[in-house]
Every structure is written in C-alpha cells, then in structure tokens.
Subunit: 299 residues, 2 copies
C-alpha cells in the first residue's frame, strides 16, 4: 500500500563544526518520503519554486516518489540555514526564507485522496488539517510537528490532534505542550488531546511509544559518527509509516517494529549531509542494520 506524505520541501544550508553544505535537498516531506520509499510507494505533497534544482527532482524519481502532488510555482524554494554546535545536538537557525511556502495550499490530486496511510510531516498544522479535509477515509493518520507550531499555532495544532491516530513529537515539545517534565506522564496527557498513539522522539536515545494500554521503549541505532542529524526525525517517522503501510496485520501488531525500522533509517540519514547518505542505502542494508540492532539490545 502507498503512503501519502505532506510536508515541507526545502533547500537547507547546513553548517557543522566540520563542513558547510549550501542548498542541500531538505524539508520534512523530502526526508520522510525518501525514508518511506525503501518500504512502499510514496505520494508526496509539497511545493517548490522555479529555482528548485533538477537533480533533486531526479532524486525523488530515483526513489519512485509520485510527484503529481508536488507543486512547482513561480518564486523561490523555501530556504533554511542552520548551524550545529560541536556536540551535534544543539542547532540554531541562521536564516529562514519562506519563498513559495508563504502562500502554499496543499492540493491533493484525485489519485491521492483514497490513501490509507497518511503522514502529516512537519508543516503548519492548518496545512496538515487542510490535507485531511481532502482525504476520504484514511486508515491511519500520523502527524509530526515542531516547537514553532506550539509557539505560534497551538489552537490549530490542538484541533488537528483530535483528528489523528498518531502524534509524533520530541521530548522538549512534549514537555512544552503538556507542562509536564516526566515523559510518561506527558504522553498520557497527550492521549487526552486525541491521539491513540503518542510517540516521543529522543534523538540518539531512541523513542517511546505510549498507547492507552502500554508503553514501548524503542532503541536508537548507535552511531560512532554523526555527520548531520538534520531530518533524522523526519526519516524516523517516514521509515515507520513506510514499513507500517506494507506490514500485514493490525497497527498494534506492527507499530513497534515500524518504529525500530524508523530508527534504523534515521541512522543512515545521520551519516551524511542532508539526504546524501540515506539516498545511497538499500533495503538490504536497512534489514542488515535491523538484525544488528536486535543483537545490540538482547540480554
């Protein structure tokens, strides 16, 4: 089954202590779509400007990402510039140019509207909402977010949460949203806002899944070299949804393994700038890393 992914499509200029990489392919939809493509066909919804480099369209195509939902419009592609500190955990935004993103309204081609697995990757909650309005009866909808939307679009986000099955956010966002430092209690509070599945991303420490009945502690794949963590969270959720859309059986039966697949795909993402490393990997390499991860946590 295919996955519908809506989110940002951007050019990222990323500075780390070791290197500077201008205008890489970025954006939550790009990362999540490439991540999901290792498991399932992907339909992507986004917008880019006329300056969007052709090789990046080819990269999407290499991953068999359906681009009917990608609008190419007059103007400049969304551009983000950021810089990482030495520890690669803290980053600061140097520049944001919204470009064509400013007036973006996601429009779903007819062929997209029946999608069963929908990932509302990080983008303004009102746009995530607008996508759902155009869907018929999706089986499983997951939304990701970022701190920006908690700060400037909380009412929209809360409205969205009543309509999604799963919600993905990171530790500090969970704490901010719930005013609760303890993650288990924070997740329980988020259930009350709507989502049946609450997934808290903890970066290099893995992730937790909370359902109303139980908890799952997902490991991260330990890396001895992190080149660029940009997009790792998007790849996590993209890989998770990609695997989930192809797995036989219920969501509950497959979500744990899907999260671990997401972790593994995210680990490949961190090993290169932007999507450079992830686009070079294969399903075989991903499965190999899954097997290794199983041995790393066995006791």
């Amino acid at each position: 089954m295919s996955v519908l992914i809506v989110g940002s499509t951007a050019l990222d200029s990323i500075k780390t202590p070791d290197a500077v990489n201008p205008r890489l392919l970025g954006g939550s939809a790009s990362y999540a779509s490439v991540a999901a493509s290792f498991f399932a066909p992907v339909k992507m919804v986004g917008v880019v400007g006329e300056d969007f480099p052709k090789p990046y369209l080819q990269l999407y195509r290499k991953h068999k990402i359906d681009l009917e939902g990608l609008q190419i419009v007059a103007g400049k592609t969304f551009h983000w510039a950021g810089e990482y500190e030495v520890n690669m955990n803290n980053r600061r935004t140097l520049e944001t140019e919204l470009g064509v993103f400013e007036s973006f309204t996601p429009h779903l081609p007819k062929a997209y509207q029946d999608s069963q697995f929908v990932l509302l990757a990080n983008i303004a909650p009102s746009l995530q909402h607008h996508v759902l309005e155009q869907m018929r009866r999706p089986k499983f909808v997951v939304a990701d977010t970022m701190d920006l939307w908690l700060n400037i679009a909380l009412p929209d986000l809360l409205k969205l949460l009543r309509r999604v099955d799963g919600f993905v956010l990171n530790e500090s966002e969970a704490q901010q949203l719930t005013q609760e430092h303890n993650l288990i209690r924070a997740a329980k509070k988020i259930h009350r806002l709507g989502p049946k599945y609450v997934i808290v991303k903890k970066g290099e420490h893995g992730a937790i899944l909370s359902t109303r009945e139980n908890l799952f502690v997902a490991p991260a794949f330990p890396l001895d070299r992190v080149v660029d963590p940009t997009g790792a969270g998007d790849c996590f959720v993209g890989g998770m949804m990609g695997y989930l859309s192809t797995a036989k059986g219920s969501i509950d039966a497959n979500l744990r393994k899907a999260m671990v697949y997401g972790s593994v795909v995210a680990s490949f993402c961190c090993e290169g700038f932007g999507l450079k490393s992830l686009t070079r990997t294969t399903r075989v390499a991903i499965d190999r890393r899954m097997k290794i991860l199983e041995t790393l946590i066995r006791f």
Copy 2:
C-alpha cells in the same frame, strides 16, 4: 559469592521542588550495598562518625550487609546537601562537609581480602587504589567515579584504570575524560586506558556497555514519577555487581542481564527519597519489573 563494596557513607540532605529531606542515609557505598544485597551477601568498607544514626546501621543490617569493614570513628559523618531543579536532572551542591572522610583510609578486614567481586564505588581514586592493594586475586573489579575526580585527581584515576576490569561513568564524564562527544568513540578511547568493559550511564535513557568486540544498549526502566534520583547510578552498579556475583557462567555471558538488573534496582531507588523506597522492595518485585521491562522493549 559475596561482593566487596567500598565507597562513601554519608548523610545527604536533599531538596527537590516537592520536599526537603535532611540527613538521609546516603553515599555511594550505602546505595550500592543495599542494591547489591538483593542478589548477594555484601561486605561494605566505609567510614562514619559518632553522629551516625543508629537506625541507619540497622538498615544496613536488615540487608545483611557485613559491617566489619565499616569504621566508626570520632568526628562527624560526611554530609552532602544538594538541590534538584524541576526537571530532576540538574542538581547543584549546596554544601559538602567531609568530616571523618577527610582522613579516611579504607582498611580491609582479613575476611574481605579474598573477595572475588569488587566494586570500587565512587570515592577518591587513591582510596579505590588502596583497596586493590589489599586484595589477593579478585576475579572482577569494577570502578565507578564522578566528575570531581576527573577535575582534581586525574593522574590517580588513570593509574586506577590500568588495574580494573570494568569502568563505569556517566555521559558527560566520558566526554570530559576523552574529549570526545560521541559516546561510542569515547568508550573506545577509554578501552585504551585499560578497562575491558566500559559502561556509560545515561540516566533515564539507560546505559551502554562497550567491550572491545561489541556493544550493548541497556534500557532504563521508565518511571512515571521520579521522587529523588540521588544514588540511582550507585544502585545501578551495585545491583549489577550483586547479580553478576551470583550468576553462573562467564562475565561476558552475564554482564548484559546484570546491567538490566542494575537499571531495575535503580528505578526503585528513584521512587523515594534516599534509600527509602529501595529498602522496602524485594527480589520478587525486582524480578517482576525485569519481566515488565522485557515486554516494554520487545518488538
């Protein structure tokens, strides 16, 4: 088999956002010994002053901790006062009175010198070293430490590392010791300093074990309420050594499970001030939590 544990024995005054608890039983040896006592007989080496409350001696005895190595001398017991921030992760020291600790030299009773499993809990590295000098041929020696010793006694610590099998430290200490942000690479550097087993504690995120051959990612037991994390790291390593000393087979075959037992024991510690919660638990409750933890990480 019994475990020999040397470390600090103290009175801790602990302030959290919710409560103030003066003069609790504390110190690395106290925490580690109680933790180990659920698995094996413990021989404890430490020092307290004449002001040391009788009920605390009774608590040691309740856990069948052999106190022949506990010196009770004229003067005041080591006292530490600290305060936790709201998130319960950051703490600051309000006061430290060394008391009888200032002139402490650990002296091993004859019956202790043949011990096979030795835990050099957090204490000055020169004292840890002095304990090893008095041992015959221990089978497995693990040292814990803290940032203070990296700052003021690094040469002693480096000398100690050449003589221990395992070394336990937390994330920031590993980074400080090796000048390496990535924990996997930091652990590899620490192997070169001597220890075959390097264990990096990550608090609520669990721990990793690095050997020259492979890696183990140990989960923490997720808690929805942390009352006081003081001593959790000591309980982790105490529980680990306690289990290890009774497990049949090689260290390599048992160390992973021992670490998870350590995590579980540490989780009980965090649920009450000082040792209040841990001292009330049982091996049955610990085993029950082990089983739960196994289900929480299964995928």
